[in-house]
């Protein structure tokens, strides 16, 4: 019988990244997918990145993951969001050609050493007690493995709604696997129900592009991968149109026929990505909403109208689409639909995304209550790395809130759970000014090198950049200049007698690198990309020093480890509600406990006192 260290179920964004990560760790890895063509499929909008999401992709890339590299190859329009704002809140985003993305992801997956792709449907997990030890395929094949990463998206009781019609299934065309779902049920995991929607897809040849506003990409594209230096695909524009009062009238009149409003769906949808029905009802005073027309590929004819996802019946979809300027004649290639599904409350997972109650089983992606390709891929990477660690007897790889968006997400999920599909935002990261898309490599690649998951080329590239940054920093902090010298170079500073280094000058928002070269001409020899990076670091230097104090404080709280099996019940003074929350979430340290919803300072104090007692007793 075959045996693998790590077996990944599902070839979506979480599954692919998990399989690659485990394989890079040197684990003998299998990726089981229903079809090869399902690998890297983009089932929602044809775009990668964005605010917070772009940060995640950069972080995946900093660990030498696949998403960033593939997205760069498939990118047909690159835009750096918030370009005019500070670098900490800039997020790279790209329209991706769906076909190229799938093709490149499949190619990368097949080319990855240590990784075997198995086409088949997993129908059951093999168990030894509460430990997973293998899987069974639909054709009866048994595969033994040490760890399993389950990334099956919306397959748990997934129901698709188009108006009053409904049918069971994951994405359009996929079948939901009943036995596997029953097996998951048997673990008694806490489940919740969520919903999400998609818009009708349109035929590009039937859209009147000539009268629509055009949105172009950036002239100097910001790529996802630190290794990418050039465009691969032809670049295109998107179109912009708007809904109008006529559109809203059609939708209002037919609300009772919408799956979401007709009472057919109980799941909670995302507040930040509402259906057009939601928008019309909740923002009744707005007579128009923006719609982005995003081409799904260079070769096909499908257009994704971003902003009008729906669960109305097909005939109503036709009517409201045709009420929109430029879409009067548009042909719907595939109607919009809503899907509701069960997710596993991620508080049942530990920080490595392993289920607490069922050992050697890891969950990643939408099944954990998240939404988005990037969130899924990042979790996949965490689960893949940790599944490999467990199989190889190595210590788990933990991502902290202070060093990565990945850490923020894992911590949010496993300690706070979700109430709506979880999406990354920059505002979720309290150390946002340090966790930038531009320095993801500086933050994470050293750890990746330690783990041995980066290629030789990547390591050399990283080390050269790190050395250049260090040399540049030294050159910029070596000498201090008087206000007089600085003013003479054309930079306005207060005559306060304070001498400043060029690095300190760069912290003034209006000072450019070219300005400080006039103060210290030899800085001209620093490579332009390194100049840009130094300027970004310098801009936030004052804040980062201050944040360091918060980080230290967080790490101090994180150092108060709550031992496995710590008993909350019977701690007098903890409310029953809080006790049961803590029992369920099982925070691994005091910092995590502090973020548990409903936690009070008094309860935390009590916990700390108990932990100290506990330590004394065991010492």
């Amino acid at each position: 019988m075959k045996h693998f260290d790590v077996l990944v179920i599902g070839g979506g964004h979480a599954g692919a990244e998990a399989a690659h990560a485990a394989a890079r760790m040197g684990a003998n890895t299998a990726l089981v997918t229903m079809t090869l063509s399902g690998i890297g499929i983009m089932s929602c909008n044809p775009a990668i990145g964005g605010l917070g999401k772009g940060h995640l992709v950069r972080e995946i890339d900093a660990m030498d993951g696949v998403m960033g590299k593939v997205a760069d190859k498939a990118g047909i329009q690159f835009r750096l969001l918030n370009r005019r704002k500070g670098p900490a809140v800039q997020g790279p985003r790209a329209q991706a050609d769906r076909a190229i993305y799938q093709r490149e992801m499949l190619a990368a997956t097949l080319a990855q050493p240590n990784l075997t792709v198995v086409e088949g449907e997993v129908v059951d997990l093999k168990m030894t007690g509460t430990q997973v030890t293998g899987v069974e395929l639909a054709d009866g094949t048994l595969i033994d493995c040490t760890t399993v990463v389950l990334t099956t998206g919306t397959f748990l009781r997934g129901i698709i709604h188009i108006g009053e019609e409904k049918r069971s299934g994951g994405r359009m065309g996929d079948k939901a696997s009943v036995r596997l779902a029953e097996r998951i049920d048997s673990f008694g995991l806490p489940l919740g129900r969520l919903k999400t929607g998609t818009p009708p897809r349109l035929d590009t040849r039937t859209i009147n592009w000539s009268i629509l506003e055009e949105q172009q990409g950036d002239d100097d594209p910001a790529f996802f991968s630190f290794e990418t230096t050039q465009l691969f695909a032809r670049q295109v524009s998107c179109g912009i149109t708007h809904t109008n009062e006529r559109t809203h009238e059609i939708i209002s009149k037919n609300l009772s026929r919408s799956a979401m409003y007709g009472g057919h769906i109980d799941g909670t949808g995302p507040r930040y990505c509402p259906s057009i029905e939601d928008k019309v009802v909740r923002f009744a005073d707005k007579s128009s909403h923006q719609v982005f027309l995003e081409p799904e590929s260079l070769t096909g004819n499908t257009v994704y109208p971003n902003g009008i996802s729906t669960s109305l019946p097909v005939d109503v979809q036709h009517d409201y689409i045709h009420s929109i300027v430029g879409l009067e004649e548009a042909v719907i290639l595939q109607p919009g639909y809503a899907i509701e599904y069960d997710y596993v409350d991620p508080r049942a997972l530990d920080a490595s995304l392993q289920l607490r109650a069922t050992s050697h089983l890891f969950l990643a992606g939408q099944i954990n209550g998240t939404t988005g390709y990037e969130e899924a891929a990042a979790q996949g990477m965490v689960a893949g790395l940790n599944a490999a660690c467990l199989a190889q007897g190595r210590d788990p790889v933990h991502f902290g809130r202070a060093t990565s968006y990945i850490g923020v997400m894992i911590d949010d999920l496993t300690t706070r759970g979700v109430t709506e599909p979880y999406r990354m935002f920059t505002s979720r990261a309290e150390f946002r000014l340090s966790l930038r898309a531009d320095n993801a490599d500086q933050r994470l690649t050293p750890r990746a090198i330690e783990l041995g998951v980066v290629s030789e080329g990547r390591r050399r590239l990283f080390e050269a950049k790190r050395d250049a940054l260090e040399a540049g920093y030294q050159a910029m902090t070596r000498e201090k200049y008087s206000p007089k010298q600085i003013t003479a170079a054309g930079i306005a500073v207060k005559e306060d007698g304070t001498r400043r280094t060029p690095y300190q000058l760069l912290a003034f928002p209006d000072v450019q690198f070219s300005d400080v070269i006039r103060v210290q001409p030899d800085l001209d020899t620093i490579d332009p990309p390194i100049q840009i990076q130094l300027a970004r670091d310098a801009l936030y230097a004052n804040y980062i020093d201050r944040q360091q104090k918060d980080i230290d404080r967080l790490q101090k709280d994180e150092a108060h480890v709550i031992p496995d099996g710590f008993v909350y019940a019977g701690i007098s003074g903890l409310s029953n509600e809080l006790t049961s929350k803590l029992e369920r979430i099982r925070p691994s340290n005091l910092a995590q406990a502090a973020r548990v919803e409903g936690m009070t300072p008094a309860a935390l104090a009590l916990l700390l006192a108990k932990l100290r007692q506990h330590k004394k007793k065991s010492a």
């Binding site: 969001l81 500070g86 923006q290 935002f425 005091l590 008094a602 309860a603």
Partner: protein, 426 residues
């Protein structure tokens, strides 16, 4: 968890003495001493016995968790305040399995840990127990009732709202986000800045209510300052003699002026002196008088003194007993003393009317750093969306400062800080 007990009232003979027992075995202990206990939240008179021996008759109060001061099961025995009775009752309690004498501050600590009070409230409780005057009591009570926490929570809510407005423009930049949020954010920040800075300035008054107002009595040597102080104190607090320059150190007398805590300072007479020791005393007197909240100048010739009175200071002629015009004050006869006390009270009553909700340096520091961050944030917001990332960061710093104040974060430091500075024995 242990069940703890202690004498809750002062040591020594008294009409009534209260013994408090708190913890899981509290009711059990109560039954062992008193038989059937009154229902929870009720009281009854019971015979307190050790075996067959009657120790006392006491009023017994029963509290059931979480409805008690500590949040645990509690019994209170209101005994006769005899030292002998108390010794017996405490030793009988100590023999019961699972009971031990409480450590200093342990009841309050349990109340904090059981979520019955927040940090600011605990500090208020310490002040309440220490309160000597009516204004101190009222102020501490306000804190115990959570007045400060309420105000800070309200600011925090408004700042979080302001932060959310900024974050919308950052995190949803690629979507249809409306309008210019700057005016609303600036308004929200301005409100909190105004109120928080006001609280900072009023906290100095509150601190005075807690620690006492200082009134320095200044004048030439032998102006009768010490005699006046003794008259105010009603006893010989300061050494008085015929010889000028007797008072070399600063002598303090603490008084309750109708609820206002006031400390009168008797300072060395202000004159040029060749005596080295006296010169040091004079220097110290001047420094102390400057930092006092109010100065009473006992003189009829201001030009002879090296200090100038501030607008609210009181200037009064000395030695009324030796004058014939009926003006001035005299510590010897008591003439004019009542008027002087009224004048002093008038100055402070006016101030106290504006006392803030907090009197602690810890609170003030947090408020000040929040205000500073908010002011920077406000400037940044006015500069435009290009620096909203920095504005949001300043706002976050401000919110953290406020959270620190009410004890939401940084548990360990906060705890260490409280339990090290917490006045023990409550």
């Amino acid at each position: 968890m242990d069940t703890i007990f202690a004498l809750a009232t002062a040591q020594g003979r008294a009409g009534v003495a209260v013994v408090r027992v708190s913890g899981p075995s509290a009711h059990h202990a109560g039954r062992m001493l008193c038989g059937a206990l009154p229902d929870a939240s009720c009281f009854a008179v019971r015979a307190v016995r050790s075996g067959d021996e009657l120790l006392d008759r006491a009023l017994v109060l029963t509290f059931a968790a979480p409805h008690s001061f500590t949040g645990e099961d509690v019994i209170e025995l209101h005994l006769h305040g005899s030292i002998a009775i108390l010794q017996r009752v405490l030793s009988v309690l100590g023999e019961i399995e699972g009971l031990r004498l409480a450590e200093p501050g342990e009841f309050t600590r349990r109340a904090l840990e059981n979520g019955k009070m927040d940090l600011a409230q605990v500090e208020g409780l310490a002040d309440l127990i220490d309160a000597e005057t009516e204004f101190q009591r009222a102020q501490a009570m306000q804190t115990v009732e959570g007045a400060l926490s309420k105000v800070v929570e309200d600011w925090r809510a408004r700042l979080i709202h302001a932060a959310s407005l900024l974050e919308v423009t950052i995190d949803f930049a690629d979507e249809d986000v409306p309008v210019d949020v700057a005016p609303e954010v600036v308004d929200l920040l301005a409100e909190v800045i105004l109120q928080a800075s006001d609280e900072v300035s009023r906290s100095y008054v509150a601190e005075r209510v807690r620690s006492g107002f200082e009134v320095a009595i200044v004048g030439l040597p032998n102006a009768g300052k010490s005699t006046l102080l003794n008259a105010l104190a009603g006893r010989d607090a300061a050494i008085t003699s015929e010889f000028a320059g007797t008072t070399r150190d600063v002598i303090e007398v603490r008084m309750d002026l109708d609820g206002l805590p006031v400390t009168f300072l008797d300072t060395a007479g202000l004159r040029d002196s060749d005596d080295h020791v006296e010169a040091i005393g004079i220097e110290r007197a001047i420094a102390r008088a400057r930092t006092a909240d109010l100065r009473v100048f006992l003189t009829d010739d201001m030009s002879a003194l090296p200090l100038t009175p501030l607008p609210q200071d009181i200037v009064v002629a000395p030695k009324a007993d030796l004058r014939s015009d009926g003006t001035g004050v005299s510590g010897v006869t008591g003439a004019g003393v009542t008027d002087l006390v009224q004048a002093v009270k008038a100055v402070f009553s006016d101030k106290v009317a504006h006392a803030g909700l907090t009197s602690r340096a810890r609170h003030r520091t947090s408020l000040q750093s929040a205000v500073a961050a908010l002011e920077t944030a406000q400037d940044l917001v006015k500069q435009g969306p290009e620096v909203y990332d920095l504005a949001a960061e300043e706002l976050r710093i401000a919110i953290r400062s406020l959270e620190f104040l009410v004890g939401r974060i940084d548990v360990e430091n906060l705890l260490d800080e409280i339990f090290s500075s917490f006045c023990l024995g409550k």
